[in-house]
């Protein structure tokens, strides 16, 4: 269809303070695999430096990605072969193996997705598979990363950001990070706190404000 007949996407509205009523069922519900998992913990802050006690974060991992509409569109189901090899983590899949099922048939849970909520102090903690390198459109590799969606009362539209792991060598040459002013780049990098534990804060506004992306 041509752009002139395209429909206008529905407007966003805030998730509000009571989202747990409807969204709790997916919070912390993901299957946790010990091997190859990492934990990211941190705090969400507002412009006054206060923790945000009613934020919800959603993490999307391209390492477990499955094309949403591949059946309809005829896009091939992605396999490990089509993807760069992992440089770290202990759950490297063998070349040619299909990726994990995009959906767990029993629970309906989507692979690669995590939803967490902040506590009364704005703190969160998420455990997920260590991300793997992903393709950049020109064929170069991107450093392993996760896409992060931030929802909260006060956010009329969710925020979009990414998080990288500080101990991945590839972050020094990552094509996206290189385009971000050096003084702000660190806001997207989770610092290692242990072999598979990272610390990362999200600052909605003010000094060291996290880099957010337009969408």
């Amino acid at each position: 269809m041509s752009a002139t007949t395209a429909l206008v996407p529905t407007g966003s509205q805030t998730v509000g303070p009571f989202f747990s009523i409807g969204l709790n069922h997916l919070i912390d519900r993901a299957p946790t695999r010990a091997a190859g998992s990492i934990t990211i913990q941190g705090q969400v802050f507002d412009g006054d430096g206060a923790g945000v006690p009613d934020a919800m974060l959603e993490f999307w991992s391209p390492a477990e990605a499955a094309w949403r509409c591949h059946e309809q569109s005829g896009h091939p189901q992605p396999t490990i072969e089509a993807r760069p090899q992992a440089t770290s983590g202990s759950d490297q899949a063998k070349s040619g193996e299909p990726l994990a099922e995009p959906t767990d048939p029993a629970t309906g849970y989507a692979a690669g997705f995590r939803r967490v909520a902040t506590d009364g102090d704005g703190k969160f903690r998420v455990t997920l598979l260590r991300p793997k390198p992903a393709a950049w459109p020109d064929g170069r590799l991107q450093a392993p990363h996760l896409l992060v969606l931030v929802f909260a009362r006060g956010l009329l539209r969710h925020l979009l950001t990414r998080v990288y792991c500080a101990d991945e060598e590839a972050i020094s040459s990552d094509p996206l990070l290189q385009k971000i002013p050096a003084e702000r780049r660190g806001t997207l990098v989770a610092q290692a706190q242990g072999p598979s534990a990272y610390g990362w804060n999200i600052i909605l506004q003010g000094q060291n404000e996290t880099v957010f992306f337009a969408w």
């Binding site: 009523i21 069922h25 459109p137 929802f151 385009k179």
Partner: protein
């Protein structure tokens, strides 16, 4: 400059700005630095796929989740989930939550002096069918006061959360009811500058789908960003 296709920005006026002072909570929670451009890579063009295992037997009937029936005006809400090309988003996960008929949420933070309804959880979820259709039964939520400004009341609304063709199709929004006198006064509804886009958040009364002697009906179609065929390719 980014040398790759980037995630297209929204059509001006059709989405809220983050900083919207009439909605007080947005002031300290909205970024002040300019948003950066995000390239379209496999991370952006893929998304989670949820299945029927997530959906329980009464998740699409909020009037049948407890021992008794909730108080209030029974309604059927239905519509379609479409992509920007007007094609159905098959299997889209839709999550809903709302206040009860008295305008009270089953949530510890809700201090409104209105009664809870022991027969109403206020939560539902379902998957759109192959034609993008969804339908659920509930009771019409009540308006409720909030602390944004003196004598502030939220118009009756149902919160919606949707997953579409890719993670960038993600949408959280609210559905309103036609003719609500609180709509022109509500800063959250009015945060969308474009009048036509704003009014598309208001459902339509649907006489055809009412069930005589049982329930009224409202119709609301939802358009998610991107396309099922080519997620986020070809900026407008």
């Amino acid at each position: 400059m980014i040398d790759q296709p980037v995630v297209p920005a929204a059509i001006p006026g059709t989405q809220p700005e983050y900083h919207y002072p009439p909605y007080r909570s947005s002031v300290a929670r909205s970024p002040r630095q300019p948003l950066m451009l995000l390239p379209q890579t496999p991370t952006e063009s893929t998304g989670p796929v949820f299945g029927h295992g997530l959906i329980g037997p009464h998740d699409n009937d909020l009037t049948a989740q407890c021992d008794g029936e909730p108080l209030g005006e029974r309604i059927i809400v239905h519509g379609r989930v479409l992509d920007e090309d007007g094609r159905p988003v098959r299997g889209a996960l839709v999550e809903v939550w709302q206040a009860n008929a008295a305008g009270r949420y089953r949530h510890k933070v809700d201090q409104h002096q209105a009664p809870l309804d022991p027969n109403f959880s206020g939560a539902g979820r379902f998957l759109a069918d192959d034609a993008g259709h969804f339908a659920f039964k509930t009771i019409k939520p009540g308006a409720y006061p909030w602390g944004n400004h003196h004598n502030a009341w939220r118009p009756a609304h149902i919160h919606f959360s949707l997953f579409g063709a890719g993670i960038l199709s993600r949408l959280v929004t609210q559905m309103y009811f036609p003719g609500d006198p609180l709509l022109p006064l509500d800063p959250i509804f009015n945060c969308i500058p474009d009048e036509a886009a704003r009014n598309r958040l208001v459902s339509q009364f649907d006489l055809e789908r009412t069930e005589p002697n049982y329930a009224l009906a409202y119709k609301w179609d939802i358009v998610l960003r991107g396309s099922c065929d080519t997620p986020f390719e070809g900026a407008r």
